[in-house]
Symmetry: C2
Subunit: 585 residues, 2 copies
């Protein structure tokens, strides 16, 4: 702020009103800024980039008919319930989370969203280091030979692998792949490093980015060509310890969603059809996007068994062999597990609304913004200065209590404009402070998650009051999302109810035989055949067939193995378990 000087201050003084409506002058100002920005955007120097970025952004953009009535010029102008994709794109870009980039499928994570990733990293690092996992860094590149060693595994990625063929103008002797995941990057070295059972368990994790050059419609955070994640890769002597870890990590993933992002998830196991290529089994946390009625995979933890250790020759002498006794070497038991920035996309889709982002306090870069109010054209400079000093003092108290607080002293903007601005950015709690508040020794509070909700906190209880309110917001966000999710999980036992339930934006728990063949049939039977266009799913009512999301660990009553029929009318098998099906991301 030391570089800023107030311009046109006198003209705009009049515009500063305490009410949250936008002042006309502020509007004009905003319009002028928008116009200037638009002019700038057309400058030739940076044209290519921006046009390219914009071209992709346009794909998902709002149609006029779906605009929010009376939306502010600078605000979100598409309705979440009418044009979800357009809304999502606007919420992310106008909320300062993300920008589009001139390489399609790649995005810029701006500080506000990257901060969330840093919070997730810090939290998760404490958890995994606590159980003995260590961080490391393997290279970005993998040679063709090594990449293709595990055939079944690589099949799932082959079409999406990005290949480096040249350095400068020099062709490389052998083309080199950018890792789509690091199993084949790491496991040859596990074979080298693990020489004895004393080297076990080997538990490594890395925070990196991987590249999968998908040709499907990209979506920020959810499906991107480069994405940030962590990948854990561990090796154990015994299957039980490996399997125990699979579940432990899954609980940490659930913790990231539930404790940090205030997003409920269902824990379960993937079916044989949906498990990770090369795994013995996959455990998963599954989320739900209420606006589209689609399920979304939140994070997966795989038990690889000995599949990779046999392929890569990762073995130790059997420690149970007695002296002189010959026992065959033991292949180790492995896990791999990953959680990506997709987490952030799920969080945004869950909580945010037509006014912009809603960010849970635990992960919000700015938890509280204090906006001075009640300064008008009649106020003296002394009154203004006195008020601003009080606001500063409030901020100091909050900061001393580890609350991330911002003060908004920007000149030339009305409080109303500022309110909208911070709401769009998702700051969980706004404190308004004017001469009347000062006289009453209080601050006025306004929660981002509930429209029109105002209250007060006595200044003597500022820090504890704000802390409690932030906790309440965090809990309420979770509870609302949880209620929403639960109300959209339908227990279905009659096939005739299945597709209508999906069409009403639900996911369905059905008795299922768990065979791959039956899953394929269900997918086929639940797809709306007439549609065959390229439009992304969110642009229309979802029409894809339903996939199995997981077999929840928490199984409802009412299913008798060997007696209850599989829900699929074309299937002759008996049900094995309640299985969660849904249209999904």
């Amino acid at each position: 702020m030391d570089e800023a000087t107030a311009d046109n201050f006198d003209a705009l003084k009049l515009a500063q009103v305490e009410a949250p409506e936008l002042s006309k002058n502020a509007h004009k100002k905003a319009q002028k800024q928008e116009k200037l920005a638009a002019q700038k955007a057309n400058k030739s120097a940076t044209n290519t980039t921006k046009e390219a970025g914009r071209a992709e952004a346009k794909k998902a953009v709002n149609k006029p008919s779906k605009k929010v009535e009376g939306a502010a010029l600078i605000g979100i102008d598409v309705d979440k319930s009418k044009d979800f994709s357009g809304w999502y794109q606007q919420v992310l870009t106008k909320g300062d989370f993300l920008d589009y980039y001139d390489v399609s499928g790649c995005y810029i994570l701006k500080p506000a969203s990257y901060f969330i990733w840093e919070e997730i990293q810090a939290w998760f690092n404490v958890k995994i280091k606590g159980i003995g996992v260590e961080n490391c860094a393997f290279p970005l590149f993998v040679s063709e030979d090594v990449l293709q060693r595990e055939k079944a595994h690589i099949e799932g990625f082959a079409a999406e692998v990005a290949w480096v063929t040249h350095a400068g103008n020099t062709p490389l002797e052998k083309k080199i792949a950018i890792r789509p995941t690091s199993e084949t990057v790491m496991y040859p070295y596990y074979a080298k490093w693990i020489r004895s059972h004393r080297d076990l368990p080997l538990r490594l994790n890395q925070w990196n980015s991987v590249v999968r050059w998908e040709f499907k419609h990209p979506q920020p955070f959810l499906r991107t060509r480069e994405f940030h994640w962590q990948e854990g890769h561990t090796a154990h002597l015994k299957p039980e310890t490996a399997q125990k870890e699979v579940r432990q990590i899954l609980e940490y993933y659930a913790g990231v969603y539930e404790e940090l992002l205030a997003v409920p998830v269902i824990r379960g196991r993937k079916t044989e059809k949906e498990k990770f290529a090369g795994a013995d089994y996959t455990e998963t946390v599954e989320g739900f996007i209420a606006a589209t009625g689609r399920g979304i995979q939140g994070g997966t933890s795989h038990h690889l068994g000995q599949n990779f250790s046999k392929m890569f020759g990762i073995s130790v002498e059997d420690p149970s062999a007695k002296e002189g006794e010959k026992k065959p070497p033991l292949n180790v038991f492995q896990n791999s597990w990953g959680l990506s920035t997709r987490t952030i996309g799920v969080m945004v889709m869950t909580h945010s609304d037509n006014r912009g982002l809603v960010v849970p306090p635990r992960v919000s870069r700015k938890q509280v913004v204090i906006v001075p109010v009640g300064i008008t054209a009649k106020s003296t400079d002394e009154e203004r200065t006195a008020l601003y000093e009080e606001v500063d003092a409030l901020a100091i108290v909050l900061r001393a209590n580890d609350i991330r607080v911002e003060t908004d002293f920007r000149e030339g903007y009305s409080p109303g404009w500022k309110f909208n601005d911070w709401e769009q950015k998702g700051v969980p709690l706004r404190l308004e402070f004017g001469p009347k508040d000062s006289a009453s020794h209080q601050v006025t509070t306004s929660r981002r998650d509930i429209q029109g909700n105002k209250g007060t906190i006595a200044i003597t209880e500022l820090a504890s009051g704000v802390k409690n309110l932030l906790d309440t917001i965090q809990n309420d966000l979770y509870d609302r999302a949880d209620t929403e999710f639960k109300s959209h999980v339908k227990h279905i036992t009659k096939w005739d109810d299945f597709v209508p339930a999906l069409n009403s934006k639900n996911v369905c728990l059905i008795p299922h035989c768990l065979t791959e063949e039956c899953e394929d049939q269900i997918k086929d039977l639940s797809a709306r055949k007439e549609e065959n266009d390229d439009t992304p799913q969110d642009e229309r009512a979802p029409s894809m067939g339903a996939k199995s999301l997981c077999i929840p660990f928490e199984q409802p009553e009412g299913l008798e193995k060997g007696v209850t029929e599989c829900c699929n009318p074309q299937c002759k098998n008996k049900a094995e378990a309640w299985c969660l099906f849904g249209r999904s991301y």
Copy 2:
């Protein structure tokens, strides 16, 4: 450890002795393990990878004549002073810092070295966040159009850019570069985001990896094709605030070296010849590798002036313009600054010795290892259990005081073998604890940084005693390195003393005119011409010509501008400043 079971325990019990010599049986064991490992290494499954990694590693490997006399089989067997490259490679791999990878020029950072990078990140993040810099993530890829926009800048990188041309088997429409640095990735978006002086300063940083496909001899940490770093990119309204930041960041870089890594650096400005392509000026911290007598650039902070902002059209309306007044838009003033994992290489080269790594306590993943001693074949199980419980209790006390401690209860290894093992890994402080120590209520201490240095700490003062000792080790490491560096900075005013000083492994402060032409001459005059082979510098006496390292901020006395001659006998100019020259990395 819960997976480990003791094998051959009885046979090896006899081998457990308190003295630090290797027992014969432990030797045999180690030999057996080496042999098994070698056999494993030949398994077909992982052959390709390991052979490739090994091929590169061999390039720098020890010759028999340069071996350390009597070196343990598992230990470092090359002498730092005789074969620096071979020593460096062994210290890193046997100390568990790093492994070679089957893509040349790429390396695996194992947990012990990655931990140091995490410590640097945490420390530096606090510093930069404290001054308002925020972290973010820009994509790995950059399109050809954008990359080539700043011609002068890209010229320095063009030959080393890795190009992605295919996804799976599909050729991309346009080839895409992997960022060699992110100026051209980020600045088009700075132009888009910076719409008014109110958006300034914009201060972003990212922790990522970049790729420069160099064809020179690669060296772990120092010259690698993919490397990890942070790159900060900031935009300011006024040059003064930008320039102030350049120096502030430089001080943080110096802090990473001096406070965390115990490595002294010289702060200064690069000459015109050596500054960053596209910068107005570059400030630098310069380190020194005493073993080779070569300087090494430690980290650089650039003031880019308006060079990039003009190229990329990053400008704002002049806030000093009065209402209605037309003033030309102002191009912003920019900085960029970067620090890489090279830091770790410099640290290793500075402190480590013929017994392996020496890691400063501040950044060591394990600061203290406790090794139980004095348990012999005559000891009872009760005696062993009692001692181990005491060791556990010591560890608990230290952990409660935030000391990173490891206990070594491995069965089947003698204390001597363990001592060597932890010394090789560079753990700063070893505590030995046996029945005699227990009876005297003390622990025996042994510092890694001073051979043969033993002492005791009373158990009643365990935590404070260990903390003090760790601080002493940290300070002593710095002081020794500082004394060494200082003794190798020669003030030279006569040209005839210059090359001999370089040949005696010094860097030289000389009066210099600071012209590029003169620098080229000095480089030429100080190179040993006869050598023209491909052998890396460290394999022989350094023969390259001397470059300017920096113009130190701290200028010695005795130079009179316009009077003192430039040190280069072929130069007719007067000296502008004392300039540090040296052979360098």
